[in-house]
């Protein structure tokens, strides 16, 4: 064999094809990394930011991808490709906000392999799909050698690049509760270049009463803090109000008060300011969608 220059540090590759084999590997091996779509892990391997002893490839695992509609929820397999979500008529009908978000997830050349489960386990602070999971209070189904468990979205996010997944567990699927018919959404994010990591973004959902006041609200900000930030106090305050200019302004002001990360390129102050603008745009879009539907 020709001598090759290799970038990732040496590891042993495993490609289990059954739950039993996968759980056995997870129970037995140490310093492992699970490889889903590879659009975050492969860069980290190539640059040797991570150097696992074992890489467990999930791409041959049966039954880990697909979209299933329940009565009041939608279940998405962890290995479902972002491109397949983007093209799915079910997602278009039931979770149109996800298609708006996916337009910002990398590029079509990375969405072809990138998975929702990979995004939700890697947990880049700027990642759109985990932010939607937070917005919807999704539930994460995980399994491991010690059995299966469900993790609520509010417990899933454990800080910078850190999910609640244990070392010997794997994310199986994500259960997204659906909002009532007539609910509208808004999504907005800002990045310096198309497809880049967002500096700040916001997503919002509103369910409406017959008199066009707010029945239920959910607002999330991403890219600003290590985890997606839900504005729960504001969400409660908005109930019973109209989503008019004043309410949107109040929301933008609230968004600017969250704690923000600072790095050599983007200051916390700038992130906070952008967070306010993103919330303003997301809420304006949600209000416009409600008006169009009325």
């Amino acid at each position: 064999m020709q001598r090759e220059s290799v970038k990732p540090a040496p590891f042993i590759y495993h490609d289990p094809q059954s739950r039993a084999d996968l759980h056995d590997l997870l129970a037995r091996l140490e310093n492992t990394k699970l490889l889903a779509g590879g659009q975050s892990l492969m860069p980290m391997l190539n640059m040797r930011i991570v150097a696992p002893d074992h890489v467990i490839d999930l791409n041959k695992m049966p039954g880990m991808d697909g979209i299933a509609i329940g009565g009041d929820h939608i279940t998405i397999g962890a290995m479902t490709r972002q491109a397949n979500l983007h093209d799915s008529p079910d997602i278009k009908e039931h979770l149109p906000i996800m298609i708006a978000a996916l337009d910002h997830v990398g590029h079509f050349q990375t969405r072809s392999r990138g998975t929702i489960g990979g995004s939700c386990c890697h947990l880049d602070p700027a990642a759109e799909l985990p932010a939607l999971c937070s917005l919807y209070d999704a539930e994460f189904d995980v399994s491991g050698p010690n059995g299966a468990r469900k993790v609520a979205a509010q417990d899933w996010f454990q800080g910078y690049l850190q999910s609640a997944l244990a070392e010997d567990e794997v994310l199986e699927s994500i259960r997204v509760p659906l909002w009532p018919a007539g609910a509208t959404y808004g999504f907005s994010e800002y990045a310096r270049r198309r497809g880049d990591f967002a500096i700040a973004g916001a997503a919002a959902l509103f369910a409406w009463r017959f008199d066009a006041t707010i029945d239920r609200a959910a607002i999330v900000i991403f890219g600003v803090a290590p985890d997606p930030v839900r504005l729960r106090e504001l969400e409660r305050d908005l109930i019973g109000r109209r989503l008019d200019g004043e309410a949107i302004h109040t929301s933008a002001v609230a968004a600017k008060r969250i704690e923000a990360m600072s790095d050599p390129y983007v200051s916390g102050d700038y992130r906070r300011r952008l967070a306010g603008i993103m919330v303003e745009r997301a809420l304006t879009a949600a209000a416009q969608r409600a008006e169009m539907a009325a």
Partner: protein
């Protein structure tokens, strides 16, 4: 420690079998084991787009896949498009509309647009710009590339 596997895949219509170290990514395998150096490597973390190829009909970054994961896959690289005596419509349009200068990004641009035009026979300028937003050119600029894509799309429609 060397973890190797034997893989068999179709590359540009030809079946290839090779022993690969499992940590080798697909772009290095194509370039170094198969000698297909048309696929270029810029950033090796999925941002620049130079290594874009078509895997099972979909454009993908060959630096973000392990070669071992391509076992059984159908791969198309820039070498599949045409050659110096018989350029593909897209390559010809690139040549005629000054869509390349140094050429480093070109193979990735071509393969992104090849996949895009197959799925979108009637693209507008905005859609083409979106399609190549994941391919970075640092010398020619994008105007010629967009023009070439429009011309190639029209020619492909005519030929179809």
């Amino acid at each position: 420690m060397s973890d190797t596997r034997r893989i068999t895949l179709i590359v540009n219509g030809r079946s290839r079998t090779a022993d690969v170290e499992t940590r080798v990514h697909l772009a290095d395998f194509l370039r170094q084991s198969l000698g297909l150096t048309g696929t270029h490597l810029g950033c090796e973390h999925g941002v620049c787009g130079a290594c874009t190829i078509i895997v099972n009909g979909r454009a993908a970054r060959s630096c973000l896949m392990l070669a071992v994961q391509a076992n059984g896959a159908v791969i198309e690289t820039v070498e599949s498009l045409g050659d110096i005596d018989a350029l593909s419509p897209l390559q010809k349009a690139f040549s005629e509309h000054h869509a390349l200068q140094c050429g480093f990004c070109t193979s990735g641009m071509l393969m992104s647009l090849e996949a895009f035009l197959r799925a979108n026979p009637h693209p507008d300028v905005a859609a083409i710009r979106e399609a190549i937003s994941g391919n970075i050119c640092r010398c020619t600029g994008y105007q010629g590339i967009v023009e070439a894509a429009l011309v190639a799309a029209a020619e492909r429609r005519g030929a179809a």
